[in-house]
Symmetry: none
Subunit: 296 residues, 2 copies
DNA sequence: GAGTTATTGCAACACATGTTTCATTATGAT
DNA sequence: ATCATAATGAAACATGTGTTGCAATAACTC
């Protein structure tokens, strides 16, 4: 059944309602989405009721007016969260989380919603398309500047791990764009860029495109500069309750793409991972114990 | 991304639009659900545009008015399935989603669940505690190697943005641990490390602890090496349907911590952000146009 | 630089909105 | 049957809505 914020409240008060109020309440229970979408008068029309009845029901349920009910239902449609979000909200309210923890909770719930958006079929198709292009490429170049750097780096790291020839265009020592000079039509450039778009990223992407490199964009809108010139784009949300645009969705998309490319590799990936492990073991890179060491 | 009935029509007409029309079009593409839920004037307010612009865009796209567009988007929301996660599963079953998209969908749903775990009160308390310690610190050192690098880098980036004295211990040029030699009890080291734990990260963390530096760990278990020696630890999940342990939860935690530190800053943060903007503007780092550039 | 066209902001307009009030009707208790 | 209370429909009201037209500004062409 659909999300219905007032279901319990209405069921609890239903018996004590008059006929008209019950009819209005029934309409709300049966059409939660229309409560969000239609005006109160249009709802009353569709329910065959007087507009005043809707307002009266709202007051009967303890609200100031019907606009409060519509607002609640709009939030439900807008939130469109999986069940865990509702649970976290209730918990937050009951425990009276304050300040820091409230904001952090809001941010994390936003990340959850964003992950859900990315899990929708058209986004999944884009992620799969991107991974297919990367798997087919001779070389992969990963580009992300400023807030996008972490995303590009992460994808580069995963691809390197699985033996894919990946190059990070990160500008260290002023050499950022040099490697792209070797790229051609058999290669892929994965460029990450969100508002505010960095000029250098766009220019490098244009240059690569001019060389016939396949451009895969991870960006925040279909009309963003990168998306318009890309061969394909993975569109990610960046909205956040905080001042900072969130890079978590882009990071999640990049990790998903990297994992899919790994899955394409078959025996080659397995052997690359094995070589990696042996190399790191020889260099003593990782602790062999998973847990506590004695304090030195 | 969400259902967007006019995506193709907008993309096709985008280049021929004026600046204001493009901004309105972008708002529609980026907020399809709000198109259904909010009045045209409220949308214009949120987009920072004139109401007449919304009507003009509608006419530009061949409609009689903006109400036609809203009606289209309401229909899209009305047709939307109730439970997106359930819908993806059903669709997968009915349409026999191919391997890539199924795995990507599973990963993204895992990220959503992990976000929910991090949104629970004990995790939120740790995130808040970490942010409080960082805010109180004279200097902050961010450390994350290999797969943890992106997380450390992201936190470092946010802290730098808001004017916090942050240093990334990244080992470039073999100088990774050098800056920690200047650290003392007034400083914080944020170290990120998950299985397989890198030896260098643990050793640097130990060194810092020996110097009295407050150690904040972002790691995958309360009994991980880092957590055991840290002053406090943010425990993040890393499980993933893919071969690769996921760094998305750690990334989300780091971003949340950074945002909370920003919120502690008050006027200092605002002026730091302003200086940052001015510096970047002076250097021409970002594109001034949010949307398409003419094809070069 | 001048002229033309396109764009834009603003104000006015007709109409819709949600709420409140009043008069009428219905219901319940005695 | 009578009376008091609750419920109901309709109208009035203040405010918001989407659209249109006008004047000013910007952009483009010659």
């Amino acid at each position: 059944m659909e999300k219905n914020p007032l279901e319990e409240a209405i069921l609890a008060a239903f018996e004590g309602m008059s006929a008209q109020l019950q009819a209005a309440a029934r309409y709300i229970l049966d059409h939660p989405r229309d409560i969000a979408l239609l005006s109160m008068r249009e709802q009353a029309r569709q329910a065959g009721l007087q507009p005043a009845t809707m307002t009266r029901l709202a007051k009967h349920l303890g609200f100031d007016g019907y606009e409060d009910i519509r607002s609640l239902y709009r939030a439900a449609v807008r939130g469109h969260a999986p069940n865990f979000a509702g649970r976290v909200r209730e918990q937050a309210q009951h425990q009276k989380l304050k300040g820091d923890q409230f904001l952090a909770g809001e941010m994390l719930m936003t990340f959850g919603r964003q992950a859900a958006l990315l899990a929708e079929p058209d986004s999944l198709a884009c992620i799969a398309d991107a991974s297919t292009r990367i798997s087919a490429a001779r070389d992969v170049y990963c580009l992300g500047l400023r807030s996008s750097h972490a995303v590009a780096w992460h994808l580069h790291y995963i691809l390197s791990l699985i033996g894919k020839r990946s190059t990070l265009l990160d500008g260290i020592g002023g050499t950022g764009a040099d490697p792209i000079g070797r790229a051609g039509p058999q290669d892929v450039l994965v460029a990450v860029s969100v508002l505010p778009y960095t000029r250098a990223a766009i220019e490098i992407a244009d240059y690569a495109r001019a060389r016939g490199v396949c451009l895969v964009a991870i960006t925040d809108s279909p009309v963003a500069p990168l998306a318009q010139s890309a061969d394909m784009a993975v569109i990610i949300p960046t909205d956040s309750p905080s001042f900072f645009h969130s890079m978590v969705p882009a990071f999640a998309a990049a990790e998903s793409i990297g994992a899919l490319v790994a899955g394409h590799g078959g025996d080659g990936t397995l052997s690359a991972l094995r070589e990696f492990d042996e190399r790191l073991a020889a260099l003593g890179t990782h602790l062999t114990s998973r847990t506590v060491r004695k304090t030195p």
